[in-house]
Every structure is written in C-alpha cells, then in structure tokens.
Symmetry: C2
Subunit: 292 residues, 2 copies
C-alpha cells in the first residue's frame, strides 16, 4: 500500500470540502480570513483520514463521513489556535507559519477558535443519508470528545500538572483526555455513521484508543528528536513549558517502545477485519514512523 | 401578572438544572470550578426564560425545553467569559464579581469558555420527547446563532467597527449578529421543539427579532444611565472601549424611543396568541423597564 498516495487522496478530498465551507458572505470577512488561515495551514489531517479509513474498512463511501471529517478538523484547528495564545503555550510558530494571533491579533484569534468550534456542530448537522438519531449520537460523542469531558478538560489537566507529573499512569490520564478523545472519535463516530455492528464498534473503539495514545507518545518523541523543518514548530517547546512528557518519564527508547507496542495493540484489535481495513493498518504504522 | 415571581420561578428552575450539570467527576475539578463560577454568578437568565415562556405560549411543559435553556445559558456565559478577557474588553468586574480570568487566570478562563460552548451541544443531545430530526434542527440553529454566522461573528464585526460606526443600519447589523441571534434562538428553537405551526413559528420569529434588538438598545441606555450596583459591571465601559452605541447615534431619548417601538412591534407580532403568551408579553415590556 502506497501510504503517501493514500494520505494525499484523503487530504485533498478533505481540503476541497474545507475550502468551500466559508465561501458565503454569512461569515464576516475578517473572521473568515482568520479561520481559513489556520484551516489551510496544512497539517496531517490525521483525524479526518482516520474517519475516512474507518468508513472504508466498513465498506462505506468516504462521502458519508465527510461532514464528520470536516467538523473534527475544525475542532482540532480551534484547539491549536487557542493553545498557541500568549496565555496558553505562547507559541509564535505553527506548521512553519506564524500562529493565528501573531497574524490577526489575540482578540480575533480567540474568536476564530470559538467560531470553529461552533461551526463544527453546524457542519455535523449537514450529515446526510443517516438516521437523525445517529446524527444526534455523533453530536453527543463529538461534544464529549472536544469539551470538558475530553480535549478541553485534558488541556486543563495539563495546565494543572505542569512540572508535577510523576507516573506514566498520570500522564496517560491527561493524554486520554487531551489528545486521545479527539483521535478516538473519528474512528468511533465514523463507525456509527457507517452502520458498524456492536462487535465491529468495540474493536474499532480499541483500535482508536491505542492509536490515539501512540500518536501522543510519538509526538513527545518528535518534540525532542525532530528538526524545526520537520515538525514546523519550535523544537523542545513542551520542554520549555516544563510540561512532563513520555520522554521525561521513559527516556527516548522507552517512549518509542511504548508507542510501538500500542500500535501492535491497535493492529491486533482490528485483525478480524479484511483487506478494506488496510488503510487503518497503514495509519497505525505511520503514526510511529512519521517525521513530523 | 407578577413578573418578579414569574422570573424567579423560571430562574430557579434553570439554576437547579445548571447546578446538577457538572456534578460528576467526568470534568476535571479546576475546570468545573471555573465553569460553575461564571454559571452561578447569577444574571437575568433572559435566554432561558424566553425559551420557557415560548413553551408556555404553545401550551407545552417547560421541562420539554430545559436542555435548550441550559445550553443557551452556557453559550451566553461562555461569551461573557471570553468577552471579558484582557485581549477583548479587559473587564475586571462582571455581575458585581471579579471576572473569570481575574479569579482563575487567563488560560483557565479561555478553556472554561471553550468547554461551556462544547458542553452546550452535549446538553442539547439530552433533549427528550421530540423527534431526533427536530433535535438536529435545533443543534443547527444554536450553532448558527452562536458561531461565525451569529454571536461570534458579531463580536468580530464589533471589533472591526470600533469607533467607526456612523449609521443605525450599520449598528443594527452588528447587533443582529452579536446579541440578536442568541436572543432570537431561545424563542424559535423552543417553538420548534414544542411543535409550533409554520404560522406560529413565523410570528414568534418576528417577536424574537424585535425583542433581541430592543434588549441591546436597552443595554446601551443602561450602560450610560445605570449605576454600578444596578448593572454589576463598570458603567460606561462600552464608551471607554470606544464602541459605538445606540445612545451615541440617537441620544438617550432617541434610543429609549427606538427600544419602545421595537417592544410594540414584538407585542404586535404575537397579538394572535391567547393568554398563555402573557409571559412573552411581560418579558418584552421588562426588557425596556429593567434597571440592570
């Protein structure tokens, strides 16, 4: 399987939908510009690609989960914009470009993040060809994954824990909230939209949980070993902010080994799926092999 | 009709539901504390009461729209927390108490706002006794009213326009986005949940639009004429921030007259409703007679 072509295909598919999201005048120009600036800044589109690959694994068309994919990328982008704010991580660079508030100012950056979060739920209501009951369930799952019970809660745990995390169990709890929830929901929500059976959903849930944590650990490793060109943000920025990482607790080799074992766990979870799940398998491996 | 008792009844009904929202440990303690701090800071609960009064006008139980009322108060509270941030209006006082970031710090205040917005959509999925299709429609309407196509978009227009607004038409456009959308949606979404006919919905939509704008104009008047005890925030803060208000453009008497004529318009829109709509009628009058 040509992973690069696979990623490119779905990234383009997503980008086309993202670009047309705010074509209308319904959104004030300056705000639209700020939202689009960060949405178009690139990125790996991991969450959307996970949603598409899950649809594929279940024999469904990727179109079916396109609004979910767009919504999740909006939520991810919102979190990056707010994370970069001076009051948060105070980062000047993101994906090799000036951060949103450096270009548009803090006030507009705050609003652009807020608007992307609200817009994500707007987009979810555009899901078609599924039972309304299922859309409501997906809205529920996405709200849980992005709010106080998920990503935003994890960011607070991260703030609270700065310089104080002593065990991998504690760090794992933070990351299950902070990044895990929004990496698992592309898989589980996509599975629900594509009519997965209870058994399939359980397997994919385990896949999503393992992949989500592996992704975070790989990020911690990259934060230390990557170059600024590869990862597009300041190398070692987590360390500068005195945040505990898996590398601090396990060392580079230990962290790499843990990520690898989680990827094995993810592959095991979906071993009963046929070749249509090869995309999910390739993505799991990509997570620990990527350079940025 | 005893308006004070009417407001108290519904305010208590709402507060009880708000208090139990985050009882669980699913939300990290510090974040929960920050969210609750602003949710419990009081306020007039105008949006929830509008939703309840609309249900009443249509002969439905207020319980039916309780999740909508809770969600809208969460979104309103989120907007206040972010509005008060140093990068936005930089306010130290809100409802007579220190603003969220003064108590919890800017980072947590940003996250508390984000989390309240996401939680609002979580709460909407708990609507019961209505068609899932209708819940999806309400999620859509609330997302539009709160995001780039509504309130958040209006805040950007307000930023863009600082010191530059020359006509009431321009100011009206800003406020239709900034405050109008989130004051209209309690009425229209509640009407949908309570099975309003197309004709009833059209009338209530006109009521909501007129009341929403009247509310903002009355706020502008209070910002100049109110005392700090009455309105619980710094008097004249809009003026300090060089924001154009209806008072700047129309004078105090002109602004009062415009608000009054909008309230007449609101009353006219629902004149075909029976006595069950007396709550909506009293609320329309309250908007221009309140002192804070």
């Amino acid at each position: 399987m040509d992973l690069k072509a696979y990623l490119n295909k779905y990234q383009s598919f997503l980008d086309e939908a993202l670009l047309s999201s705010f074509a209308s005048d319904a959104v004030p120009a300056r705000l639209r510009e700020a939202m689009n600036y960060s949405l178009k800044a690139g990125g790996k589109r991991v969450r959307p690609v996970l949603a598409f690959a899950t649809a594929e694994a279940l024999g469904a068309a990727p179109q079916k989960v396109l609004p979910l994919a767009v919504a999740l990328e909006m939520i991810h982008t919102f979190s990056l914009i707010h994370d970069d704010l001076p009051a948060m991580d105070d980062d000047d660079l993101r994906r090799g470009k000036p951060t949103n508030h450096k270009v548009f100012g803090e006030a507009t950056a705050i609003l652009a993040g807020d608007a992307l979060l609200a817009e994500a739920f707007f987009v979810l209501t555009q899901l078609e060809g599924v039972e309304p009951r299922c859309i409501v369930e997906v809205v529920h799952d996405v709200a849980v994954a992005s709010g106080a019970r998920g990503m935003t809660g994890g960011q607070q745990l991260d703030l609270d824990a700065t310089g104080k995390v002593n065990s991998t169990a504690e760090l794992e709890q933070i990351h299950r909230f902070k990044t895990g929830a929004l990496l698992q929901v592309p898989v589980t929500a996509s599975a629900k939209l594509c009519g997965a059976s209870t058994q399939e959903l359980a397997k994919l849930t385990n896949y999503g949980a393992a992949v989500g944590l592996a992704f975070q650990i790989a990020d911690d490793v990259l934060d230390v070993t990557g170059t600024i060109e590869e990862i597009g943000k300041d190398v070692g920025s987590d360390r500068d902010n005195h945040k505990s990482t898996y590398v601090d607790l396990l060392g580079i080799d230990g962290a790499k080994a843990k990520a690898k074992s989680l990827v094995q766990e993810a592959l095991l979870a979906i071993q009963g799926f046929d070749a249509k799940a090869d995309g999910l398998r390739a993505l799991a491996r990509y997570i620990i092999e990527r350079k940025g």
